[in-house]
């Protein structure tokens, strides 16, 4: 019992620190990548190749002046960024990060909590994501913040639908809500081969749910100053900005798990290594997939211009939603005939 408890706490701490670390360095990779695309160097002053830049950014945010508007709703103003941060970290609980590690006869699966409703849990947490932004935007008592919050919430509600239907067609195919089993079923072939359209829809919706370009209208600086975080400063602002990168990391992990075989490496059984080493290798392979998706997120941001708001709504409701519905129906028919 006590061993089990220690292992769980250690696993949770590792995943938490890893998410924070990866999110930290995702900011640096983003700036470097932006530099590459715009034909300049990007940050290169702090440390060799600028690898201390995220640390400097963090320190800067911590020591900035805390500012709170006079007319703000004090409690909700503080609750907003905290909620956003908490919700973006919550999803990592059900993602299977690897197989099982066995030490001295005890088996330790590399998943914090496995339940029979993993995928629904992810839905639930994703649908909670909108509250942090809405509460923060409303509590600031600023028209730009409110407009940003309203935009964010309507955008997230609209894209949740298509995202849900895309996942539903995967569930229909695999016949399970458990992520562990979804991964296990993909040993021979990845889900993306059978469900390319579902993956495309899921990826576009993930961009919209994480408020990334080309869907970053809630913080559209040309029209709304800073959107929902206009009135925020110091580490409260840091939480909002940082949670975007954690969301990117987690949604990359979900995409890798649902569509790209999770921690399964092709031909891994032929290597003839010990089971523990194979598990670690699988986890490393999962992280390679996650990093590729993170790069894709960043690449899209610096390539595509922002949508207009009516275009965004049109894309969500008139293109993605019917496509996801058709995909679901076709999957249903194929599963019935099989």
């Amino acid at each position: 019992m006590i061993v089990y408890l220690i292992y769980k706490v250690a696993l949770i701490t590792t995943i938490l620190l890893l998410s924070l670390l990866i999110a930290m360095y995702a900011t640096l990779v983003e700036r470097k990548f932006a530099g590459f695309i715009q034909d300049r160097y990007g940050p290169d002053r702090a440390g060799p190749w600028g690898i201390l830049q995220p640390v400097c950014d963090g320190v800067k945010l911590f020591f900035k002046e805390e500012y709170m508007p006079n007319t703000a709703d004090k409690f909700l103003y503080i609750l907003g960024p905290c909620l956003t941060m908490m919700v973006s970290l919550l999803t990592s609980a059900v993602i299977p990060w690897g197989g099982t590690i066995s030490i001295a006869g005890n088996n330790f699966p590399l998943q914090v909590a496995s339940s029979s409703v993993d995928i629904l849990y992810i839905f639930a947490v994703v649908s909670m994501g909108v509250y942090g932004i809405m509460i923060g935007g409303w509590a600031s008592n600023n028209k730009f913040a409110l407009l940003g919050a309203v935009r964010a919430s309507s955008q997230m509600i609209s894209y949740e639908l298509a995202m849900g239907l895309a996942i539903a067609s995967v569930i229909l195919m695999t016949g399970t809500l458990s992520l562990q089993q979804t991964v296990d079923q993909q040993t021979s072939m990845w889900n993306v081969v059978y469900q390319p359209l579902a993956f495309l829809i899921f990826f576009i919706c993930a961009l919209a749910e994480t408020n990334r370009a080309p869907f970053d209208l809630p913080e559209c600086e040309g029209e709304l100053v800073g959107g929902y975080h206009t009135e925020y400063s110091a580490m409260k602002l840091g939480f909002y900005l940082f949670s975007e990168y954690i969301n990117m990391f987690i949604s990359s992990a979900i995409m890798a798990t649902l569509f790209f075989g999770g921690y399964h490496m092709p031909f891994i059984d032929k290597l003839g290594l010990s089971p523990n080493l194979l598990t670690l290798l699988g986890t490393a392979f999962l992280f390679v997939k996650i990093f590729l998706f993170l790069l894709l997120f960043i690449w899209v941001r610096w390539t595509l211009p922002r949508f207009r708001y009516d275009q965004l709504m049109k894309l969500g409701w008139k293109v993605l939603f019917p496509l996801a519905l058709i995909n679901l129906i076709i999957t249903g028919i194929v599963m019935l005939l099989k």
Partner: protein
């Protein structure tokens, strides 16, 4: 252990339900209602009904309350322009609430709480719910879905200009 979790959840549920009523600002009321939904979802999990718990959060806390909050934010209700109800409306509300209390008490009085109520503890799992829903309750389920579809089409028609 389970007893403590139950009492914590119940206390929190009752506290948040009361706060929904006594909060002065409508947005606070909505947020307390969301907290209340979460505590109820916790109760579902304790009854081994994971599917129900998660769907409860997705539908109520994740969709319906977002729309509530959305509307309240746009309305921007202040303490200053709060509607004052007339005496007649208040008296009617008290009588209606009292009648509801009488009904609830009457229902609970006839309840036999001596033995465990739930016979099948696995009924809350997704597979079992699906089997029951699509075998025994096939017709009501489909009828409800048609009703929802009709409501959705109606909503779209009302929004559409001409």
């Amino acid at each position: 252990m389970e007893k403590y979790i139950f009492f914590t959840l119940s206390g929190l549920a009752i506290f948040s339900a009361i706060m929904v009523l006594v909060s002065k600002r409508p947005v606070h009321s909505v947020l307390y209602l969301i907290l209340c939904f979460f505590t109820i979802a916790g109760h579902y999990i304790m009854l081994n009904a994971q599917f129900l718990a998660v769907v409860h959060i997705i539908v109520y806390a994740g969709a319906i309350m977002v729309l509530f909050l959305f509307t309240l934010m746009l309305l921007n209700l202040n303490l200053a322009n709060e509607l004052r109800k007339s005496i007649l409306a208040r008296v009617t509300a008290v009588i209606a609430g009292g009648l509801l209390l009488v009904t609830l008490v009457a229902v609970l009085k006839g309840l036999d709480a001596s033995g465990p109520i739930m016979a099948n503890t696995q009924i809350g799992m997704t597979t079992n719910i699906g089997k029951v829903l699509f075998n025994e309750y096939m017709f009501p389920f489909e009828a409800a879905s048609v009703l929802f579809l009709a409501a959705m089409v109606g909503a779209v028609m009302m929004v559409k200009k001409e």
